[in-house]
Structures are given as structure tokens and as C-alpha cells.
Symmetry: C2
Subunit: 235 residues, 2 copies
């Protein structure tokens, strides 16, 4: 009983009690944005005006603005003022995903997430595929097959997978991939020595491309899984 009361208290304190001035200002600003129905590109009052309007110091306003800026909701330039931006949802988070500061388990989970994405994306790819895009993939694969240089091959590998995300024509998904890329890269570079252990039923990019041309989403998924599994054992 006592425990429940206590946790409730903590809950309340965390959600309301310790709400700092900046927190309130941030909420006010967000409400202001959505109430005024501001569009990307629109400007908002300058820092001093906001500070006066909300009865806080410029320091406090700035801190709230810094948060919103980091979240990609606004952008600020000297003299120009502050403008609303289309929330660049995911691209900013990239900065939090520093592989160097990440523990092994999280990295494994992110890699699993990649597997989920690249298998789940199959249907969309078969819907959105065009002759032009396939040709572009073909070029990438040909370049890969000509190259012996390991570093170069790694770069092309990244290119191939990035192109798949791009083919989805979904900017959010593409951004998401870009955000996770440093993590994949880290895995690749750090451990590409063991990748010599060639798996017999490993699917090359060429195989994936051919399926994309004449196969089915399900075939694509199966091959993609075995393709990515190669890396999976590294993590």
C-alpha cells in the first residue's frame, strides 16, 4: 500500500511537480504554433518579444527554442529570425545514435530493426519499381562485381541498400535509414574480417536484383534475410 502511494507520488512529481519554467514555455510555444496554424516557412515573433509576452527572460525562451530547434520544428538564422520548418522528424535523432556511445545489445537490436525494415519493405518495392530504378541498381551491382577493393565494395554495398530505401519513395523511411546508417557502417568496418566466412546459401546483390526484376516479394524477403544474416553473426 505504502509502495503504491509512493510511486504515485513520484509519478505525479515527475509529470507535474518538477515541471520547470522552460518546460512550461516549451509547451506554450508548441500550443502557440498549432493554434496559429503556422505553416513551414512562416516566421514567429523574435526572442525578445516572446520573452516579454510570456513574462520570462530571454535566457528561458532561448532554452525552449533550442529544444524545438533540435527537434526540427523550427530553424533560426541571424537577423532573419525564427521560422517554422517541416518537422524533419528523424534526421536530427541521428545525433543521438552515436555507435561509439552505444552498448552491444542496442546495436544488435538496431541491426535486427534493419532486418525487419528491409524485409517489410519488399511489397512496396514491387509496387514502386520502375525500369529506370532497376537500371540504376544494375549499374551499382556491375560496379560492385568489377571492384576488388574492399573499402570500395563496402561503399557500394551501402549504396545498394540505400537505393532500395529510396525506391520506396517514402521520405520518412529513407530518413530513418540514413539515421541508422552510421550504426550499420560501424558494424561493417569494425568486423568485416570475419565476413570471409562465406555462407553457402548467401544471397548476393545480383540475386536480389534479379528477384526484384522477375520474382515475388516473398522470394525477395527470403533472400534478403539470408543476405543480411551474413552480417548478423557479427553482432
Amino acid at each position: 500500500m505504502k509502495n503504491i502511494d509512493e510511486s504515485n507520488l513520484i509519478e505525479r512529481l515527475n509529470s507535474v511537480g518538477t515541471l520547470t519554467t522552460v518546460d512550461r514555455v516549451e509547451i506554450n510555444l508548441r500550443n502557440f504554433f498549432s493554434n496559429e496554424n503556422l505553416q513551414p516557412g512562416d516566421g514567429i515573433p523574435k526572442e525578445i518579444e516572446l520573452a516579454r509576452a510570456m513574462g520570462v527572460s530571454r535566457t528561458t525562451i532561448r532554452e525552449a527554442l533550442i529544444r524545438l530547434k533540435l527537434l526540427g520544428l523550427i530553424d533560426s538564422r541571424k537577423n532573419r529570425g525564427i521560422i517554422i520548418t517541416r518537422p524533419d522528424v528523424l534526421s536530427n535523432i541521428k545525433r543521438a545514435l552515436d555507435p561509439q556511445l552505444m552498448d552491444g545489445n542496442t546495436m544488435k537490436e538496431i541491426f535486427e530493426l534493419r532486418l525487419v525494415l528491409e524485409m517489410g519493405i519488399a511489397d512496396i518495392l514491387f509496387i514502386k519499381k520502375t525500369e529506370e530504378k532497376i537500371r540504376y541498381l544494375e549499374m551499382i551491382v556491375e560496379r560492385e562485381e568489377k571492384t576488388k577493393n574492399k573499402v570500395e565494395r563496402l561503399k557500394i554495398d551501402v549504396e545498394f541498400h540505400a537505393m532500395l530505401y529510396e525506391m520506396s519513395e517514402n521520405k520518412t523511411i529513407l530518413q530513418f535509414q540514413k539515421m541508422l546508417l552510421p550504426v550499420f557502417d560501424y558494424v561493417n568496418n569494425g568486423l568485416h574480417v570475419r565476413s570471409q566466412v562465406k555462407n553457402e546459401n548467401y544471397a548476393s546483390h545480383r540475386v536480389l536484383l534479379n528477384i526484384l526484376r522477375n520474382g515475388t516479394p516473398e522470394e525477395f524477403r527470403i533472400k534478403m534475410r539470408s543476405h543480411l544474416m551474413k552480417y548478423f553473426e557479427k553482432v
Copy 2:
């Protein structure tokens, strides 16, 4: 030609040229963290010391710290100082995903991302499924079938899908789902009127559960697609 040069310029300016003092401080701090090999829970020097050490004002240091705090890399408490925290990668981004400030296209894209995730997750589910988890899903579905209340059914719907993510036993993926949840919710609540248009080959939760019991990942994917398609037309 001119366009390319221009975009390159912007790219460079954004990434290097207009590197502000705070940007440099932020980079320094990150390097400091990874060089010192700091573990979650460890403390770092206080603001004034950091300011003196880097030769900038406390204001500037604070701004950099605010960013890192928002990214979940550190946490600060009065008097206690600043401590390293395990980057809670995704949970912070939630704040950027305010459906009210989101344009229709982005919402559509996020919903597509959900489709990708819930189809791509199928293989993992079949690997990680246990008797206990299946029973739990069974309970959810039974509750759903008994309920007529629309609001209640929506709540249970969310529960069912959340449970799937949980079954993946991947904390990162689960966090990601929680982050996107407000967006799904917004779609559901805002437009659940039209959902009366019953699609003939719509797959219920019951169907999905049965497949999870005795079917294959591929069957699961097919049904999941038709299941989510119901909502898709809303966006």
C-alpha cells in the same frame, strides 16, 4: 550546374562552415565522453568547470548540454550535477512527432512505415513466440470480441498490436512503436467513422492470432497487410 554548386555550398555551410561555437563545444563534449570511456551513472565536471576548461561562457556550455540532455545522453539535477545516461535513443524523438504539427503526407508515410514494420516483424514473431505470449494475445482478442463499445475496441486494438512488438523482445523496436503510437492513434480517432466500410477480405485479430499459432510468417504478412489496409485508405 549552378544548382549543384549551390546545394553543395549549402551542404558545406550546414556541416562545416557555419559551425557555431556551441556546435564546436557539443562536439568537444561528445569526444570527451567517448575518450574518457564514461559509463552510465558516471558524473562529469560541473558547468563552470567545463566552461573554464573550454574557454567559453557558461551560457554556451549550457546550450550544448541542453542538446545532449534532449538527446538522452546526459541527465542533470540540481546540486547533484550532470551524469551520463544510457542514450534512450528513440523515446526522446516522440516529442518531435506531434501529429498536430504534422502534414498529411508525413502521416501517410509514417503509416506506411508501420505497415513495413509489422510485416517485416513476422519472422521474428514466429521465432520468439511462446505459449504464454499466445495465451496473452488470446485474452486480448476475447476481450475485443465481447466488447461493443467503440472506444474500448480501439484501446484493445492498440493493445493487440503493442503486444506483437513486445513479442519481438527487441526493446529498440518496441520503443520505436511507442514513439509512433500517437500518430496511429490520431489517425484512428480522427477518422474512425469511415472504418464502417467493411472490406470483404479484411483480416481480424482473431485470424492473425490463429496464423501465429499454426501458420507461417508469409501467411501472417499477407493477412497483416489486408488488416492494416483498412486504415490505410483513411490517410
